[in-house]
């Protein structure tokens, strides 16, 4: 955090306050303000293209979505380019209809089920097959098979089945591979030390592995909550056109029905905003953990 950008290259590095004016080594030129400005602007130039694209195609539509949620926007207004502000009417309509509560409840149940299933299955899975300290390798070698440090992700067939799972199941393999790479972060000497101290595999997992992989795990939880809450396709295909199923649809799908089928774009936008606020509330706790543990910070810790 404290290291300046290129500490070794800066000409004339001095301890601050040791001399009245900076002393420069032989032949080194005084860095002009123009050059230091350029150095400061360099990272800005690097991030600018990404910022521009995101601002245009994510930022602007989101701002517009928020604005729309305070408008009475139907097909008529859309094509006549008439802007009708109606304050909190959309939100009032939503909150007074019983559907919101049902949809929120369904979303929560759905997300909990999905997140629980995907991350639990994936963690168990990668943990089982992890090369160095995976239970499978451990037991197989203990049984006399040569599976010490066997890399399940190294051979075509076992890796292929894992990658096939990736295509079929959107979420599980993503979480699994990310967790797998997180597990490789754990230095093996810690396990050796723990083994000498007589720790059981379960204790090792809880006391050695978990503290190290926690930041990545938290990020995965946040992303899973977000992605699963916004899941659309699967639900849409299954419930499409079936009014009977209205009480099992999550918010993301209900929002779509409102906006497109009933052409109440303002109401649809308000639903989306409520959904975003709920997600921010739910994930805010985890995001704060990430900020506190330094997982979200500009420069990497040395």
């Amino acid at each position: 955090m404290v290291a300046p950008t290129v500490p070794k290259l800066g000409p004339g590095r001095t301890e601050p306050g040791t001399s009245p004016g900076p002393t420069y080594s032989r032949g080194a030129k005084r860095p002009s303000w123009r050059r230091s400005l350029r150095r400061q602007l360099f990272p800005v130039f690097l991030i600018l293209p990404a910022l521009a694209l995101l601002g245009l195609l994510q930022g602007y539509p989101i701002v517009r979505l928020f604005a729309t949620s305070f408008q009475d926007l139907g097909l008529l207004q859309l094509f006549s380019h008439k802007v009708v502000w109606n304050g909190f009417d959309n939100y009032r309509t939503l909150l007074s209809s019983g559907q919101l509560g049902t949809s929120v409840a369904q979303t929560v149940v759905f997300v909990v089920a999905c997140v629980g299933l995907t991350s639990a299955a994936a963690i168990v899975w990668t943990w089982l097959f992890s090369a160095q300290y995976g239970v499978i390798n451990y037991i197989l070698s203990a049984l006399g098979f040569q599976y010490n440090n066997h890399d399940w992700f190294g051979s075509t067939i076992s890796a292929y089945s894992i990658i096939t799972a990736n295509i079929v199941w959107g979420a599980v393999p993503f979480v699994a591979l990310t967790m797998y790479s997180a597990f490789t972060l754990v230095p093996r000497d810690l396990f050796e030390a723990a083994a000498i101290d007589g720790a059981s595999p379960v204790v090792m997992f809880r006391k050695v592995t978990m503290p190290i992989v926690r930041p990545i795990f938290v990020l995965l939880v946040v992303l899973s909550v977000i992605w699963d809450a916004n899941v659309f396709n699967q639900v849409w295909y299954l419930t499409q056109g079936n009014a009977q199923l209205l009480n099992v649809i999550p918010l993301g799908v209900w929002q779509y029905i409102e906006a497109f089928s009933s052409q109440q774009y303002g109401l649809g936008a308000a639903t989306a905003v409520i959904m975003i606020l709920l997600l921010v509330a739910v994930t805010g706790y985890y995001i704060r953990i990430m900020v506190r543990t330094g997982e979200i910070s500009g420069k990497a810790k040395a």
Binding site: S161, I163, A182
Partner: protein
Amino acid sequence: MTDTTPTVMAGTLTKRYRVMTWVWRAVAIVFALFTIFPVYWMINSAFEPNSEITSLTPSFFPVHFTLHNFVSAVNQTSGLGKAYFWDDARNSVIVVTSAVAITLILGFLAAAAISRFRLRGAAVFLVLILVVQMVPGTALIIPTFLLLNNLHLTDNYFGLILVYAATTLPFTIWALRGFVRGVPIELEEAGQVDGLSRLGAFVRILLPLMLPGLIATGIFAFITAWNDFLVADVIMQQNSHQTLPVWLFSFTTNTGTNYAGLMAGCTMMALPVVIFFLLVQRRIVSGFTAGSVKG
């Protein structure tokens, strides 16, 4: 030392562990079957005549093996007077590969800026792009369409490419940031001592070292864009401008769904991705491990 280790392990082995091996194996097998079955079923159905697919007693193997479904899928016109498979396949490839290229380039530069410099507001930026993910994709369709319409970018490759690049960019930046951190900064500094510029060090040293990470991240971006239906359906209007996921919907008409053709179509759509996976499979796996190693 090496001979004693197995003995120690065998000594600690109890009967409970032996039983657990078989339990874990059974779990792994069930898990694998559960995972692979839908793919198997898709391929199985693609090679069966329609009569067999819709029969009440499903056959688990294409007894009457046929390629007819593929031929009819490629040639099916769905009442539009022209078969659009090749058009739409070409569109998919052009749009998705361009979008992935853009998102990787911009994502790499942004990730380098965030993790190699002290950039004011970087933390806010990272939280913001995470929050952006919370917006339901369906909610942004209308504002995005109106925006592209104003820019005259609807029904246009470039518009769709930009949308895909923008939707995959937040995740790409988050993932690549981890991979940049995995490369020790000393390597770039060494390159700069040898006369490279800062940007030169990024391109000549950092970029090759995190290639596995770029591939791994690129594949996730690829899958996201390759499978998108909603954006393509709304933004591209002419049939000859559509992508493959939209084309798949032409198998469902008023008279019902042509499942045999649909399964053949799905197989053809998944095939390029699977082949691509097989080609770069080794790199993905090493990419995920390499990205995690901190310098």
